[in-house]
Amino acid sequence: MKNSQEVATQEEFVCEAPNNMVKKEPPLENLKYLIVGIMFGIIFVKAEIISWFRIQEMFRFQSFHMYGVIGSAVIVGMISVFLIKKFNIKTMSGEKVDFHPKKFQKGQIYGGLIFGLGWALTGACPGPLFAQIGSGFVVVIVTLISAVAGTWVYGYFKNKLPN
């Protein structure tokens, strides 16, 4: 009985950062992602993206820094995605790269606004949260736990929210 219930409640797994690799990766392969993550964390700190002040500067339009960072990241990302699609560049293990078209949902508006309000308070989107903690701002552990709680509450009320 329990089993059939579980099957009934299962929904299609949609994730913005899915693992599309067909071949199973041995656990050690995760080192790759650890290294990319470390590089990423270093960039976050060295470009001062983790700074609450920089985020304030951005939302007050008093510095070009954050717009330059996000804008140039998007341009480099766009060119990369274009090249991967155009030349059908395969992954290291020879697989076709998967892209996921996003469907418009009202959540992108409501959720986007709520995240924006929180972003200006905490001075961090989810990535910099981890780098802030690594930089020794221990109180941010509370922010992270709250963010996990927020995600959980969203999951709990998901079907009752307009979307």
């Binding site: 998967d98 892209f99 996003k102 990535g127 963010a147 709990y156």
Partner: protein, 191 residues
């Protein structure tokens, strides 16, 4: 060697940091067919620790473990950059921002974070509750509701020319601007 170290320890300009962040998109795609996104890690933590029979958390999170390894890398990157690549000079903030924030009641502009807010002492005050507990909650709830954050929508989504990601990114900005200009002054009046 010293010169290289000097260059690395200086704050990195946007035209170095931005393109490097952009390169994360093809790097993750090509080393393992992974789409770039960070807020999904928060969902995987829920799925791993407290799925509580909620369908949204009922999936094979172990298959997505790369994302958790990636964010733990971000943590370690923060440790390395702060302890070994520390900026020898003082933090430089726009004068206009300093003036604006002084009016709100922030006085310490020495570090990356305002010491007036981000201290353990502030944690158990109403200030701490709003900035950490409520702020964090909105980040976690909002990103999941929107289906991604600055990385998943603004960078990965826009790189892939997704209109919904553009809409989401605009809403992130509208939310942030609203908080900064319309709500923050009232919050600072509370203490």
């Amino acid at each position: 060697m010293n010169q290289i170290m000097e260059l690395i320890t200086q704050p990195w300009p946007w035209y170095v940091a931005g393109p490097l962040i952009g390169l994360t998109v093809p790097t993750l795609l090509l080393i393992g067919n992974k789409s770039f996104g960070i807020s999904s890690s928060l969902r995987h933590i829920c799925a791993a620790c407290l799925p509580a029979g909620i369908p949204f958390f009922n999936y094979d999170w172990k298959k997505e473990i790369w994302n958790l390894v990636f964010v733990s890398g971000i943590f370690f990157g923060g440790v390395i950059a702060t302890n070994f690549l520390e900026n020898p000079d003082t933090f430089i903030l726009s004068e206009r921002t300093i003036t604006d924030l002084k009016k709100l009641g922030i006085h310490d502009f020495a570090g990356l974070m305002p010491a007036d807010l981000f201290s353990v002492n502030a944690l158990f005050t109403i200030k701490g509750f709003i900035f950490f507990v409520l702020g964090g909650f909105m980040v976690g709830f909002g990103t999941r509701y929107a289906g991604g954050c600055t990385s998943g929508h603004a960078i990965m989504g826009l790189s892939n020319l997704q209109l919904p990601s553009l809409i989401a990114t605009c809403c992130f900005m509208v939310g942030g601007i609203t908080m900064t200009h319309l709500i923050l002054p009232y919050i600072f009046k509370l203490f």
